[in-house]
């Protein structure tokens, strides 16, 4: 760790670069899918993130039905229940995905379920930031391109979807589609600087300088 790196200087790589993510795809359709849907609040009563994967989209995946023996929890046809998609690692979503609560438990649950990249029309900002902190790219494409990719992965659960973070493309079905990776995210992922703690801690003198210049911190 350098003691006082200048602006723009490249510093110690704290984490592995994330340049490509590929694997089979899974589509979860719908705009405004909030983090309460991705991981309901009752699963937040935990002290670690371990084991959250099995609760991803829990309330969408199970419903209660009346049977002869009383009410029973049965699986819905949510894609996360589909055995054909169980090994998917690229999640394809629509607009404003991850809105609502800032819970990092939501991307943690997706990652622990097996998702390594999310491709969508747009993402809520805190959600995208939380994904970045885990090294999970949130890549955007326009609405039509998303719909096409969703239809493809639904019809081809075994086909590979290759997200090239560095080149900002998504390749599938013999095609390569232009995508967009936010500049900050691009830099952080490609350079393996998505875990920021070491980077931030590298300049203690400058942090102290800033603190000392703040009127509300002196003499208190």
């Amino acid at each position: 760790m350098s003691s006082d790196a200048a602006d723009g200087e490249t510093e110690t790589t704290a984490t592995d670069p994330v340049e490509h993510v590929s694997g089979t795809g899974i589509a979860v359709r719908g705009d405004d899918i909030d983090t309460d849907q991705i991981l309901p609040a009752r699963f937040l009563k935990v002290l670690t993130f371990e084991g959250l994967g099995e609760f991803a989209f829990f309330d969408q995946r199970f419903e209660e039905v009346e049977t002869d023996h009383g009410t029973e929890e049965v699986e819905t046809d949510h894609p996360f229940n589909d055995p054909e998609h169980r090994r998917a690692s690229v999640l394809v979503v629509n607009s404003n995905f991850g809105c609502g609560s800032s819970r990092e438990h939501a991307p943690q649950a997706l990652q622990r379920w097996g998702i390594d990249a999310v491709v969508g029309e747009s993402f809520a900002e805190i959600f995208a930031g939380n994904c970045l902190a885990l090294g999970v790219p949130t890549v955007t494409m326009d609405g039509e391109a998303i719909e096409a990719l969703q239809s493809f992965v639904e019809a081809n659960p075994d086909a590979d979807v290759a997200v090239d973070v560095a080149a900002e493309t998504v390749a599938y079905d013999g095609r390569r589609v232009e995508a967009d990776v936010d500049d900050t995210q691009h830099h952080a992922l490609v350079n393996g600087q998505w875990d920021t703690t070491a980077q931030l801690a590298a300049v203690p003198e400058r942090i102290a300088e800033t603190a000392n210049s703040l009127p509300y911190l002196d003499a208190s």
């Binding site: 723009g8 719908g30 609502g100 809520a124 350079n191 703690t197 931030l200 603190a211 509300y216």
Partner: protein
């Protein structure tokens, strides 16, 4: 890019440097901590052998999982007990100030910060909670962050962040009688969309916002995130000063107050401020709002018809259809008369003293409808104590409300306060997402505290303007101790 706004100025003052990624490293003036999003961050810190850099700038409370009825320890719910014990251990190890329920200061994180004067103009405030924008009401830059970022802040008191654009939202005119800050923000979100604020922070201003008390400004800023904005703020003014003067931070230190006031004035967006976007909302046209769907953007004025999904812009139709299937509302009809099973007066949006006083004006001398379960969950122990000092607890109890201990409660149903089955809840909280209040068939109607009170006594969505109010909001207030 914006220039000379409060956002630009405060950002610049807290900027440690620009990182190679293009993000800025920002110093954090106040880090608020609660029991749900912090344990993993403290855990990561421990794993890396790091210590809390500035416990003096870190402040904790417990709100999400605390019971609001029987609070004897250990808590009845093991998971809640273990989260509380973990927080006690973490703050104890690091010497972080903690508003434990035994202190009389415990409450929802976005209520306790402002009421103790921890939140001040020109500060950067972060918390592992998306409603941190609430603190922007004081002219602070306040951001909700994730757990990995909490780790960053604990370890370095700084955070990596991208600068956003600034949209000024100018609310003109004057609010009608019966229209509140909650109706203003629900209307803003309806007009600009739940993702309209993505890439922006919102600066709220104009005559309507200037005329609001601090509680109202907090209500507006609180729901910035529901409009997609990363933060929201109001420039500090005399109303802000008057609030702060009475807080723990300054009550006994008028000199310090005067010193800082100069700073607070210096950071206001000046006449030369340039914004990336300016939106004007006609405040005089705002009606008491109520949501009909499952996003905070799906609201209507209480006398207006619920929209037909086919009449909405194409991108919103499917979401609207699904929402209406969930809530069971009828397009073309107004929300008036929609039956309500539960009335929840609480949450960081609307559980401050002014909110409770406002709702009490409707409740006084009336009784909760026989089919309604109604509860008041004050935002903090101090709010509760102040409300009790002026007899508001009796007003609510006499009418048939339960008067509970402070916490997040039914806002997100992490304790026992939850909807059951497909109950309909008139709620003063901020989110009507499916499952938010603890039952996935449950239905949440967001509205102002006054409208919640009206629904509680009539058993259905009611235009509060049709009910006479008893007392004024400045009636018989006992002296308030913050």
């Amino acid at each position: 890019m914006s220039q000379h706004t409060l956002y630009d100025d405060v950002w610049e003052r807290h900027r440690v440097r620009t990182l190679p990624s293009g993000q800025d490293q920002l110093f954090v003036g106040l880090h608020l901590v609660h029991e749900v999003t912090s344990p993993q961050a403290f855990g990561m810190l421990e794993e890396r052998g790091l210590e809390v850099a500035r416990p003096d700038l870190t402040h904790a409370t417990a709100d999400h999982i605390v019971p609001t009825d029987d609070r004897s320890r250990p808590y009845g719910d093991d998971a809640a007990e273990s989260m509380m014990s973990e927080l006690e251990r973490n703050v104890g190890d690091s010497a972080i100030a903690f508003d434990h329920p035994d202190t009389g200061r415990q409450g929802i994180v976005h209520v306790v910060g402002p009421e103790q004067g921890l939140t001040q103009p020109g500060m950067t405030v972060v918390c592992g909670d998306s409603h941190t924008a609430t603190h922007g009401a004081f002219g602070a830059l306040a951001f909700g962050i994730g757990t990995s970022q909490i780790r960053d802040v604990l370890a370095t008191q700084t955070i990596a962040m991208e600068k956003k654009r600034v949209r000024r939202i100018e609310v003109t005119g004057e609010l009608d009688e019966g229209v509140t800050a909650k109706d203003v923000i629900l209307t803003i979100i309806r007009e600009l969309g739940t993702d309209g604020g993505v890439g922006y922070v919102y600066e709220y201003g104009g005559p309507v916002v200037e005329a609001m008390d601090m509680e109202g400004r907090m209500t507006v800023c609180n729901m910035s995130i529901e409009g997609g904005a990363r933060a929201g703020y109001v420039n500090p003014d005399e109303t802000t000063d008057a609030w702060l003067r009475e807080t723990d931070a300054f009550r006994d230190d008028p000199e310090r107050f005067e010193e800082l006031r100069e700073y607070w004035e210096s950071i206001r967006s000046g006449p030369d401020a340039e914004y990336d976007d300016v939106v004007t909302i006609d405040g005089s046209a705002i009606e008491p709002a109520v949501t009909w769907g499952t996003t905070p953007g799906q609201s209507v004025g209480v006398t207006d018809p619920v929209p037909d999904p086919d009449s909405l812009p194409e991108g919103q139709r499917d979401v609207a259809r699904r929402a209406q299937a969930h809530t069971g509302v009828t397009p073309g009809e107004s929300m008036q008369g929609y039956p309500v099973d539960v009335a929840f007066l609480g949450s960081c949006t609307n559980a401050r003293l002014a909110d409770l006083r406002d709702a009490a004006r409707v409740v006084r001398g009336r009784a909760v409808h026989g089919d309604v379960r109604a509860l008041v969950v004050p935002g903090s122990q101090r709010v509760a104590a102040n409300a009790e000092a002026e007899g508001l607890d009796d007003v609510f109890r006499d009418a048939g409300f339960e008067w509970r201990a402070p916490g997040c409660s039914m806002c997100l149903g992490m304790n026992d306060d939850q909807l059951v089955g497909d109950e309909v809840c008139a709620s003063s909280s901020n989110r009507n997402f499916v499952g938010r209040q603890g039952s996935k068939e449950g239905r949440t109607l967001l509205m102002s505290p006054r409208m919640v009170a009206a629904a509680a006594v009539t058993g259905e969505v009611t235009d509060v303007r049709e009910l006479s109010l008893v007392g004024t909001d400045t009636d018989d207030p006992a002296e308030v101790t913050r």
